[in-house]
Each structure stands twice: as structure tokens, then as C-alpha cells.
Assembly symmetry: C2
């Protein structure tokens, strides 16, 4: 397991995202890693990330799945090409769709584990299934359909 998170390989221009950009000082700055065939991100919601007293806000949980999902998609794309994430050109993914099932209330005050597994790779599209554990219990399941950012858009952003 690398000690460098997927998000730490994103080029600076793509590192401003509120969910996962290491350069967004107001954001969540999530960090995702491989653990074998699964990707994992550990995140501790802050007290104001509340839904009702004692429980985590669902919009935050959706956001965590979103960014951990696109990060996992990118890491999987490098893996599929047998490339290190530091190699050029960068591969980045945007979310085409996001689905979240809230199975149980997620308790506030514990570190959450967001886990992902690549379900399907089809051309430029990667489907990532995900789940969130709180104290070892799965409270949320979801799926992200991520699409690779077109080179043209990436070029426009990087320039």
C-alpha cells in the first residue's frame, strides 16, 4: 500500500475540488488509498456535519462517495494501463451519476470508512460500487458512474 493518496497525484489545476482537492482549504480534502482490490478513505465528520442530533448529514455522505468514487476510478484507470499515478498524461474522472442508499443513520463522532470496488470498466467509463462503515457497520451503499475527462477539456484547464 502506497502512503501517497490518489488525490496527491492530481495536477495542481485539478486539486481545487471541495471534496478532494488538496489545495482547497475550506474543503474535505479526502485521501484515498488501495487496500488490495478495494479502495479506502477514512474521514471524520465535524460536529457541524449534522443531520439530526447524533447523526451525520446525508449530503456529506453523498459527497464522500462522489469524490472517493472518482478517485478510485482514476486510480483504476492507471492500474489498467500499468502506469504509475505520477506518470503523464494525467487521467482524471468526473461524475456522470451518483446513487446513494441510506441504509441506517450514520453516527456522528466516529471515523468513517468509505470503501470502493471497481465494478465495471467500459471504454472511458468506470463504475465504482461503494459503501460506508461506521464502527464496523455498513450504514450507506452507493454507486458512482465516473467518466474520464476529455483530453481537450483537461488541456484547456491545464493551460
Amino acid at each position: 500500500m502506497s502512503d501517497r493518496a490518489f488525490q496527491e497525484y492530481y495536477p495542481d489545476v485539478l486539486a481545487h475540488c471541495y471534496g478532494c482537492g488538496r489545495l482547497n482549504e475550506h474543503g474535505h480534502r479526502i485521501r484515498s488509498f488501495w487496500e488490495g482490490e478495494e479502495s479506502v478513505c477514512r474521514f471524520t465528520p465535524r460536529p457541524h456535519h449534522i443531520a439530526v442530533p447524533g447523526y451525520v448529514y446525508g449530503g456529506l455522505l453523498a459527497s464522500l462517495l462522489d469524490c472517493h468514487g472518482t478517485g478510485t476510478a482514476a486510480a483504476a484507470a492507471y492500474r489498467a494501463e500499468g502506469r504509475d499515478m505520477a506518470s503523464q498524461p494525467p487521467l482524471r474522472f468526473l461524475t456522470a451519476s451518483l446513487h446513494v442508499d441510506y441504509l441506517k443513520p450514520t453516527p456522528l463522532g466516529v471515523t468513517l470508512e468509505i470503501r470502493g470496488r471497481v465494478k465495471e470498466v467500459k471504454g472511458r467509463k468506470v463504475v465504482v460500487e461503494e459503501w460506508i462503515l461506521a464502527d464496523g457497520t455498513v450504514t450507506v451503499r452507493g454507486e458512482v458512474v465516473a467518466v474520464q475527462v476529455p483530453e481537450k477539456l483537461l488541456d484547456n484547464l491545464v493551460k
Copy 2:
């Protein structure tokens, strides 16, 4: 059209939500209203709510659909009972599932319009279809399945 938002009727104990709680000073504090058969919420993302430069973070868009959806579900439930939202007992909804399709990038720097329409009411479940407009163009479509908070849980929270 009432000038009091759905969220302004939530009892204090249920008004801490990061997305829609009027008492959460760190949160989005969204405000939703009826406009005929549709509900609407206008929200201007802040500069740090960024995905890639120029565009809004998808996790925020998911969060807006989530809270506007549960707010619309609650307002619809009062309507269905012919009750004013200020009447007792309070009706509140939690999100069972959330689906978001990101159709196009949503530009940052404009006020977004989040619109909802009740698609189905089935017992304690309300399905709300939603869409987000930026400069008059639909950039996101989504659906929230909201479930009425059990009286028991509501009682425990209110006490």
C-alpha cells in the same frame, strides 16, 4: 406563495442540519418554497464550492437535491393532510435514497434554481423528482426517496 420557507417551520431540534438547518451557522441554510405544483430553492454556491475551475462541486449539488427533496416531501405531506406547516405534530422526512445525474457541468458564479415535483406518495414514502437550472439550463437531474421520520424517533429527539 408563502414568504416563509419550508425549513422555517422545522422544530428547533430538527433545525441543525448542515444542508437546511436554520440553526447551523456553518451550513447551507437552504430555503424552499412552493411555486404552484413545483417547489423551488435558489442558492448561490460560494467560490470554494468548486469542482474544477469554473464549475460547481457535484457533492454540493447532491446535497442541495437531498435537502430540497426532503423539504418538499414534508411540505407535500402537510398539503396532503390539508394542514398548515405550523400545525402539530411536526412531519419530517429523512432520505432513504438519492440519485443524481450530472448532465452538464454547472457553472460557478450564478444563482442556481433547484426545482422539485412530487412524483409519488405511497404511505410514509414520498418520491420527489428534481432538477437544477443554471442560467436557465438544466444541468442536473435527480430523485429523492424520502421517508417520514417515525414518531418514536421524532419524540426521542424532541424530548
